[in-house]
């Protein structure tokens, strides 16, 4: 039973991961295609704990740039193919370090805008897979780069709304099962484009608050599933964006997240007593930020970046 956030342990856990050059475990070898996402999770957590200065900015930024493809998009690692998933993480990382100015904004934004389809949806890359996650990525990324006007926003929004289900939730495409992760993406995209009025907030709030497990206080991602720390982010940020966060029991959720920490070695896992990983460490800390846990900086629920970073972007130029 934990009663506090062991921030120092998490800091050490993350720094060790980032310094790990040899990559001997099967998990790290198998995950190296999404290193860009991993870097975003690790660095944003550091930023939320006010420890971003512990890493070498130059090293990180120059590595990020080696992942840029000639098309303008970014890959998950050097020499791999580009995809919007990694492009957003790359832009977010540069935003954390206030280094967006090194980007050829025209190039990156053209890559993303070029992936919008006739019906307003977005493909993840040139191979055409459509998913509302990619709609969120496009809108979030272009908003940070201040060129949302490069896409057809109205059509993008209409497509997202067409993915709304009877239960008030959203799936990856029209008719797909409601899923907390997809809901975060759709609500986030609608929030950024000023279209939250298209959401039935009571109905969606209902679906979201039903994610909380009465006993453990944790949140799941959809019905009949076990609670998982990462949904502390997706469900919570969605609730905050639609003004219904008071519909869940916050104290219980805080306890669930704290209990999922590895108190000795740092890191957070998907639920108490399981193995930690960087993904859940980030979502746990981000969730605590949304729950206004002391010692954690405020995170923006739509952009998934610290508020001071977003303010810096929105109020310059």
């Amino acid at each position: 039973m934990a009663d506090k956030l062991v921030a120092d342990k998490h800091l050490r856990y993350i720094l060790n991961l980032m310094a790990e050059k040899k990559k001997e475990s099967f998990e790290s070898v198998v995950m190296d295609h999404l290193r860009m996402n991993g870097a975003y999770w690790g660095l944003t957590t550091l930023a939320l704990l006010d420890k971003l200065g512990s890493v070498s900015e130059d090293e990180v930024v120059s590595w990020v740039m080696t992942c840029q493809h000639e098309s303008g998009g970014f890959a998950g690692n050097t020499g791999h193919d580009p995809h919007v998933l990694y492009t957003l993480s790359a832009v977010q990382i540069l935003a954390l370090f206030d280094k967006l100015n090194i980007l050829d904004v025209e190039k990156v934004s053209n890559y993303i805008a070029g992936l919008q389809n006739e019906d307003g949806s977005f493909s993840g890359d040139i191979w055409g897979e459509v998913d509302t996650r990619f709609s969120y990525i496009a809108i979030c990324c272009l908003s940070i780069l201040k060129c949302l006007d490069k896409i057809n926003v109205k059509k993008a929004v209409d497509y997202i709304v067409s993915c709304k289900n009877l239960d008030g939730g959203f799936g990856c495409s029209p008719g797909a099962e409601s899923h907390a992760g997809q809901i975060f993406c759709c609500v986030g995209a609608l929030a950024i484009t000023g279209n939250l009025h298209r959401v039935d907030k009571d109905l969606l709030g209902w679906w979201l608050c039903e994610r909380q497990d009465y006993e453990s206080g944790g949140l799941n991602g959809r019905p009949e599933k076990l609670p998982d720390v990462c949904y502390s982010w997706w469900v919570l940020s969605s609730l905050i964006m639609i003004d219904r966060v008071h519909w869940i029991e916050k104290a219980k959720l805080v306890k669930f997240i704290l209990d999922s920490q590895d108190m000795d070695n740092g890191g957070i896992s998907d639920r108490p007593s399981y193995t930690v990983d960087i993904f859940h460490t980030y979502f746990g800390v981000a969730g605590l930020s949304l729950l206004e846990y002391p010692g954690v900086k405020t995170i923006d629920p739509a952009y998934a970046l610290p508020v001071h970073v977003i303010n810096r972007i929105l109020f310059t130029k």
């Binding site: 070898v29 020499g79 519909w247």
Partner: protein, 514 residues
């Protein structure tokens, strides 16, 4: 005087002799050197030829292959190190001259090519090899002949078209496979599928064209790391230039094999959708492929419960189905659903099918689906759901399914007789048919509130789900709550409210608006 002359004569002779000796030495040693160079060159190309021969011999026993590969590799290393290296021809940089011995990778790829019918792959701890041997009832004939049954040397297990990969070698194998794949892909992107000169001499593109190398290495790496998108993309790039259906169906086989070990791999499911799109664009949309995809998801769903990626894929298929196939799917998948009542994704799939039926009611041009048929299907689903709800007490998935069924029944079948699709958000006007329906639902709520044994969580869950279900319907039809109060009476209503208040207090505020 004569002494000096003699001495000079002698020196001149000596120099001549020395010159002759030197020349003859140089000549013979350069011949020797030439001979050594020739021998080195012949041996070097023989080794490469033998590598190729080994790689292309699909009938060679894997253990013999491994031994021969190792022998060849040792020979190659001896050639490359020490004194012989000075006589080797210089080679351009390429995969063969990489310092790593990719023996295990080559063995892996050889095993894959020698058994094209492999339908299941898994990662197993080396200690399990013997157990698998016992279960399969035999061990390889060659084992005792070539090497002792030494656990440390067993890397792959292949019997009955199943392939096990030892977890001991996974990390290095995965790294090697990625490395080799990326080099091959670079080569392919730079030079296209041009055959190397040596292959042109052979008249055919033997194993080793850039395209074949990319396909071979990407297959290996994807079996180990199925979400490595770049490898799937390489295959898409090559496949998009093919015009035989068989190339695409073969790709379905490979991705199916990968799903046997990684059923949640998003990239693999995405790749399958790309293949089906290509097939339907270039050839046609054979209904049998769609049917098989649907069956594949069901079989994967058996081992991987509520697998979002798998069930999403099944929902995606619905857009390729004609209404007759939709109805067939609804019927065929009913049995499985009844055996997996906690699998909410499975019930969502049924909702997806039923939504398609609703859509088809309003298709223009005389092709609209018969409404009375649809109504029958809907009523059947409602009755079946009621049976399940009563039999499997406290199952959230079933009650959620009922929310969808009831609301749509009210909107589409109990009050809408027009040919025009109801508007979303249109308010529902009470009529007799709806009232009868609601009456039955209240009755169901009442029986669900009877908590037979307070010790069992399931009965409490049943009461909660039933109460929340009714509350949810009330959101769409505010007057519904008044009917509930009238029929159940104050005491029972209080009971319903307190059950909800225990776990979902925030939902009760909805009643304030009623």
């Amino acid at each position: 005087m004569e002494e000096v002359e003699e001495e000079v004569k002698r020196i001149v002779e000596q120099v001549k002799e020395l010159h002759d000796s030197s020349t003859s030495f140089v000549s013979s040693s350069s011949q020797e050197e030439l001979s050594l160079r020739n021998r080195a060159s012949v041996v070097d190309s023989s080794i490469r030829r033998l590598h190729s021969t080994l790689a292309s011999d699909k009938h060679l026993d894997p253990k013999l292959f491994e031994k021969l590969e190792e022998d060849l590799q040792r020979a190659k290393c001896m050639l490359a190190d020490g004194d012989t290296s000075s006589f080797l021809p210089s080679k351009p940089q390429g995969i063969d001259s990489e310092e790593g011995c990719f023996t295990v990778l080559k063995l892996f790829e050889h095993v894959l090519e020698s058994d094209p019918l492999i339908d299941e792959v898994g990662f197993i701890h080396p200690s399990q090899f013997n157990l698998l041997d016992e279960e399969a009832g035999s061990s390889s004939v060659y084992q005792n002949e070539l090497q002792p049954n030494n656990e440390t040397s067993r890397k792959f297990w292949n019997q009955d078209h199943k392939l096990g990969i030892s977890t001991d070698i996974l990390v290095q194998l995965c790294k090697d496979a990625k490395h080799v794949f990326l080099l091959a892909f670079e080569e392919y992107k730079r030079h296209g599928n041009a055959c190397n000169e040596s292959q042109i001499e052979n008249f055919s593109c033997s194993p080793g064209t850039p395209e074949i190398e990319v396909m071979r290495h990407s297959q290996a790496v994807l079996l180990l790391s199925s979400d490595f998108g770049t490898a799937w993309n390489a295959r898409k790039l090559i496949l998009s230039k093919k015009d035989q259906l068989s190339a695409f169906t073969e790709e379905l086989r490979l991705s199916g094999l990968i799903l046997s070990n990684s059923p949640k791999s998003e990239s693999t499911w995405s790749h399958r959708r790309w293949i089906i799109k290509m097939i339907s664009q270039r050839f046609s949309t054979p209904q049998v492929i769609i049917t098989k995809e649907s069956e594949l998801v069901e079989s994967i769903g058996e081992r991987s419960k509520m697998n979002y990626r798998a069930w999403y894929h099944r929902c995606w298929l619905v857009s390729y189905m004609a209404i007759e196939q939709v109805i067939q799917e609804l019927n065929k998948s009913k049995r499985w659903a009844g055996l997996h009542v906690a699998d909410s994704s499975c019930f969502h799939y049924r909702r997806r099918l039923m939504l398609k039926i609703l859509e088809s009611l309003y298709v223009k041009g005389g092709n609209a689906y018969d409404k009375s048929e649809a109504r029958k299907i809907w009523k059947e689903e409602l009755d079946w759901n009621k049976e399940l709800v009563e039999r499997y007490v406290g199952r959230e998935a079933l009650w959620l399914h009922r929310r969808f069924l009831s609301l749509n029944w009210i909107i589409y079948f109990a009050c809408n007789d027009s040919d025009v699709s109801p508007e979303p958000g249109e308010s529902i006007i009470m009529n007799e048919e709806i009232a009868i329906f609601i009456d039955n639902e209240i009755h169901l709520l009442e029986s669900s509130m009877t908590v037979l044994d307070t010790k069992f969580e399931d009965f409490q869950a049943q009461a909660l789900h039933a109460g929340v279900y009714m509350l949810w319907l009330t959101k769409k039809m505010p007057e519904l709550w008044r009917m509930v109060e009238e029929k159940l009476g104050t005491e029972k209503v209080k009971c319903v409210l307190s059950t909800i208040a225990q776990e979902r207090p925030s939902l009760l505020h909805h009643l304030v608006n009623v």
